[in-house]
């Protein structure tokens, strides 16, 4: 009697204890599960010009993914970006997200880093199917995709439209008109064209922009001939003409005093303060300029490189791309790929492009140009544009030679032949 009563009462107590045990443990377990779901902190190295755009996108991303934070380091110049990223990659402590450049023409080009195993491939990306194939090819090495281009920008002249109106000036449509414009602007006591030639690729991009009209538009196979060793920079009249235009602009007083000592951020500041009528720059600096709250309206216009306006070709610059560090942890790589996918969404791409001053891939394909880029639309729809040729060069030394020795054209230290010979010598170093 006692055993059965004891057994039955004991059993009930045991069952009650088990239920209580489970009820107590369950929330603890849930909390433990919640605590053990790791949050990921992604590191990212980017160029300061894109800070406003990335800040907006990252804020949206972190709201959508509360378990991932993105910690960005911005470098003040393009050159310091090159230096820091290559150093970190060589040391093995590079950031999870990397800024890379399309093609092969810079020290952090996709082709160079992908071939050395630094970049994680982007596999089975739905967004890749939406991209313009001509843009996509610069993000690939062989059949594999290694980067996402958040925007494309045009190279040209940013113009202070308020000052143009005030001075009664019209934007030049040909190179001869540009030189005349410089004289009128000088007479009005302002800087005609701001050229930040120190620590930036601006001069290099302007020369490449002109060369699209003077070299590549006249001979569409010139790039292939260069690769095959059938053409040289020194032997191309179009390259002589492109550099001669820089020399003539300098001699005509188009540039500010001491362009060789003006950096990109200083140039952004000077333009935003209204010190110059025009600014040789891509619209990638729009975010940085807007952040300084300029008290005037501005747009960007194609650089008038040609003798006749109908011959002008504009330069389409692929903005710095986003890649994933192949040596980051698996968790960080997965989170980094999520960030890339997020940025690749049309809505986020539009936000990035609007703030940074470019066009998202979707906007480019649909030819939906914002107002400040409307001057480029006719040339784009007519097919009179080209991808920056520097991105097709097979090593970074050629672009560096153009930047370094090209600056010598502004200071009188180098001749056009010196610049082109330096570029040929750099080309002969071979592919990176």
């Amino acid at each position: 009697m006692t055993r059965s009563r004891m057994g039955g009462g004991h059993g009930a107590r045991c069952a009650l204890a088990a239920v209580a045990f489970v009820c107590v443990l369950a929330p603890i377990s849930a909390t433990a599960r919640a605590v053990s779901k790791e949050s990921v902190s992604l590191t990212f190295l980017a160029y300061v010009t894109y800070q406003p755009a990335y800040a907006a996108v990252i804020a949206s991303f972190e709201r959508a993914h509360p378990d991932i934070t993105v910690d960005v380091t911005y470098t003040p110049t393009i050159q310091s970006l090159y230096q820091l990223e290559t150093t970190q990659l060589a040391a093995g402590n590079a950031t999870d997200l990397l800024t890379t450049y399309p093609g092969c023409g810079t020290p952090i080009s996709i082709c160079r880093l992908a071939r050395s195993g630094q970049l994680a491939p982007m596999l089975r990306k739905a967004w890749a199917r939406r991209l313009d194939p001509r843009v996509l090819e610069y993000s690939k090495v062989g059949p594999s995709l290694f980067a996402f281009e958040p925007a494309v920008v045009f190279d040209g002249l940013l113009t202070n439209d308020t000052m143009f109106k005030k001075l009664g000036l019209r934007f030049p449509q040909t190179f001869a008109q540009l030189l005349a414009f410089c004289a009128k602007a000088r007479a009005a006591g302002t800087i005609p064209v701001l050229m930040p030639a120190q620590g930036s690729n601006t001069l290099q991009q302007l020369v490449a922009d002109i060369a699209l009209t003077t070299v590549y538009a006249k001979d569409k196979t010139w790039g292939r001939k260069l690769r095959e060793g059938k053409a040289t920079f020194e032997g191309a009249p179009g390259w002589h003409q492109a550099l001669a235009e820089i020399v003539r602009m300098n001699q005509a007083g188009c540039f500010q005093p001491g362009p060789a000592a003006t950096t990109g951020p200083a140039g952004d500041s000077m333009f935003a303060q209204g010190q110059t009528l025009a600014y040789s720059m891509t619209t990638a600096h729009k975010g940085a300029i807007d952040a300084a709250k300029p008290a005037f309206t501005y747009t960007q216009r194609p650089f008038p490189a040609a003798e006749r306006s109908a011959q002008n070709v504009v330069l389409l610059q692929l903005a710095p791309a986003l890649s994933v560090n192949a040596h980051a942890s698996k968790q960080s790589q997965a989170a980094a790929q999520q960030f890339v996918d997020f940025l690749a969404r049309p809505a986020e791409g539009a936000v990035f492009a609007r703030i940074s001053g470019g066009l998202s891939e979707a906007q480019l394909r649909a030819a939906k140009f914002p107002g400040y880029l409307s001057s480029f639309l006719p040339l784009y729809t007519q097919g009179r544009y080209g991808i920056n040729p520097i991105e097709t060069w097979w090593n970074a030394a050629v672009g560096n030679a153009l930047t370094t020795y090209g600056t010598g054209l502004l200071t009188g230290q180098e001749s056009i032949d010196d610049v082109l010979e330096a570029m040929d010598a750099a080309w002969k170093l071979g592919p990176d």
């Binding site: 290559t86 030639a197 001491g258």
Partner: protein, 265 residues
Amino acid sequence: MPIGFGGYYAFTSWDGLTHATWVGLKNFRAIAADATARAALWNTLELASAFVVASNAIGLALALELNRTLKTRHVLRSIFFAPVAISPLAMALIWRWIFDNEGALNRVLRDVGLSSLNRAWLGDPSTALWTILVVLVWQFSGLAMVLYLTGLQQIPREIYEAAAVDGASSWRCVRSVVLPLLAPAVTVSATITLVIGLRVFDQVLALTGGGPVSASETLGTQVYEQTFYLGRYGYGAAFAVLLTVLVAVLALTQLVFLRLREQRI
């Protein structure tokens, strides 16, 4: 170990990301043939020579003045030494603002009616290197001053009194009495400033980046550019080896020469 590896990589072709390939003396032959490298070597020697002379002359002058019984001598010594303690890069960035086209220097010159002297100090090849010299001398004259002050304070007061009794003027006293007794301090200061001058990097990078073109390029900036910008680690290491050898040879030669001079005195 870093020196060993650096020495090894100087004889290789290496991009920092893949394997290094042995190329022997190819990097050094390329340096000898490269106009920019030759310009960097020449600029380095020119800058270092001018820096040694200027910083030691100013440092000695300051030390002689501040060795007197001035009420404010301790405050003044601190003021003149303060730049030495500040980061060279931070200091150079401040000077960059001063030397900018629209910077303080050009504005002051305009305001006092000397706008004809306005220059693109950092963007003009004829002034870029000397602008760096100004910053270097400004920052490190205080170091030379301290070294000379230490030497001056070891000279017994009786020596000065004896010279005064013999009718020596102040200048004669400095030339014939003080300077010879300062020989050890001169040796130390000249050697330290020579090494600083040859190794200059932060100031060049912050002010001009080595430009315009190679007007202010130095061996230090070439090491940096070739290695970290162009990804030519082997070639950059060769520059580093060249710079190390240059510093060692020149510093040791100067040291031996000055020590022998001390012994003669």
